[in-house]
Chain length 328, copies 2
Amino acid sequence: MKAKIGDVASRAGVSPTTVSRVLNNRGYISQETKDRVYKAMNELNYFPNDLARSLFNKRTNLIGLIVPSTSNPFFGELSFHIENICASMGYKVMLCNSLNQIDKEESYVNMLMRNQVDGIIAAAHYNREILSYNKQNIAVVAIDRYLSNTIPVVGSDNYAGGKMATELLLSRGCRTIVHINGPLELDTPARLRRNAYEEVMAGYGKQPIIYEVNDLFNQEDQRTTVRRIFDECPEVDGVFASNDLQAASFISEARRRGKSIPNEIKVVGYDGTESALMLLPELTTIRQPIPLIAQSAIDLLIKEIEGQFGDLPHETYLPVELVEGSTA
Amino acid sequence: MKAKIGDVASRAGVSPTTVSRVLNNRGYISQETKDRVYKAMNELNYFPNDLARSLFNKRTNLIGLIVPSTSNPFFGELSFHIENICASMGYKVMLCNSLNQIDKEESYVNMLMRNQVDGIIAAAHYNREILSYNKQNIAVVAIDRYLSNTIPVVGSDNYAGGKMATELLLSRGCRTIVHINGPLELDTPARLRRNAYEEVMAGYGKQPIIYEVNDLFNQEDQRTTVRRIFDECPEVDGVFASNDLQAASFISEARRRGKSIPNEIKVVGYDGTESALMLLPELTTIRQPIPLIAQSAIDLLIKEIEGQFGDLPHETYLPVELVEGSTA
DNA sequence: CTGAAAGCGCTTACAG
DNA sequence: CTGAAAGCGCTTACAG
């Protein structure tokens, strides 16, 4: 059986109180007692039950992480960095893949609350407001997504990124530039990429052409959209895709149709994950500062957990970077 | 404040016992009482504290997942599937990125034990035995990795995969085939890929040429190895890489050196993740059945959790599939 | 410097 | 069909 604090206590000839004290390094304990207790813990292979501790402390050091799917390289890398930083700060991470489905997300939020998480980091491309986030008063930080006007949002500087991408394509002489994005009705910060595209295009007196992919995680949806672009808009000579997988999908279809990239069509992606850049190093893309996004989200969350709600910025946009490959 | 079971009880005019009963659907309760309790729970926005429940039940429905890093597409996808299946079965997942560092892994195991996880799924490329796994008697399943002779291992059929890859290269006429793998000294099932390569080569009277990458997750290590291959073995005309990122790294270097693929050099990867196939669709590779690996690992783990140790297979190898791209 | 007691929020025998 | 009591494994005032 698992040893508990009482077992350690009797073996060391002290009270459970004392064992707890040496465990938590609280109060004064004679060195001799300490040694006896440590010895007993070792002999019994004792390790404390964090459930019991947390129950008493009303603090779990657990945070819930909701991402659409760690299969997507952006969220896979984001999850890695978030968990990694959390671990270094003594926080544990419960992973939730919402697949951007609102019902899943709601039940995850519920589950996390029941597990008494200290806070939640919610990342997703879209989804309307989730009531549960407001009902309970728990620390929440959103990544690239507006959840409510009290929940801080962290993300890349989407506007700057969209602007960079569009301007690059224009500067390379593209005349018909298509932008591929998620559904319009969603009011996410990622929409700023689209806004930037539209405004830059307008500034050059050009007509924006936007294609929407219903489900950014659905390969089939992506392909269908790409095919539609070629069919409906054969004069396309520039594409700003909302993520790298989408850009890759476009590039493949272009090759299949014998269109040369970047000669005939230039393509810029978004995200710039390590995986994408290893697998498709020629891709020109806008790199999101994933480690920085992770760090900022955690910093904000911890401030919330510690009760500093007042002075938190509602929106934090971190700088993006143009990765110059050879597709544009 | 958060409502607790006593609050619900007094508002519904019953005892906490009764509330607990309706919560758990245990014993006989009159419909009228049930309704009153549900009403009170709603009004108070009550949700049970799983910490307290778990403490009593000695069951958390929590499983620990240790992967090297979700940044790697293979483990990102594996994590997704594992969490997804777990969620559908009422299990929660605590994510741990070990980076294949033994000290990190040990402290994760410790943390997981303190959190009373019901079981652990440990995936990693390498690492010697971890004592902690044996010290405690807890349910553990390993993915592509030998932890001890009592811990079940799940993985792809590495031998078949290695054979397929090597035979494909031979059948395409390659004469100098290099295999890139992790450090030799590690006794992982992934080593079977290497064994298969060696045996097939021997069968054709060919000399195996193996290059080892120290840290499979280090891009720099990968590149260095790739460059060494070109420098030391310029006659190479076939490569079987131990994973797709490595294959991609080789392909990039080949392009940089003006070597045409597949004309001058043919390349086969391993893993066949969705991301890799979207970003580098021309890659020829051996696809691991990731969803099946996830499912099998969970099935085994749950059997262990439920005490069925006896009849569990020590090794489970799931079928791989050749993805015919155009790099070989 | 150390211990007995109460309590964190639940659940389950045991009674009735 | 329902409740009072004890206990899951800890920690923290409160005493001494």
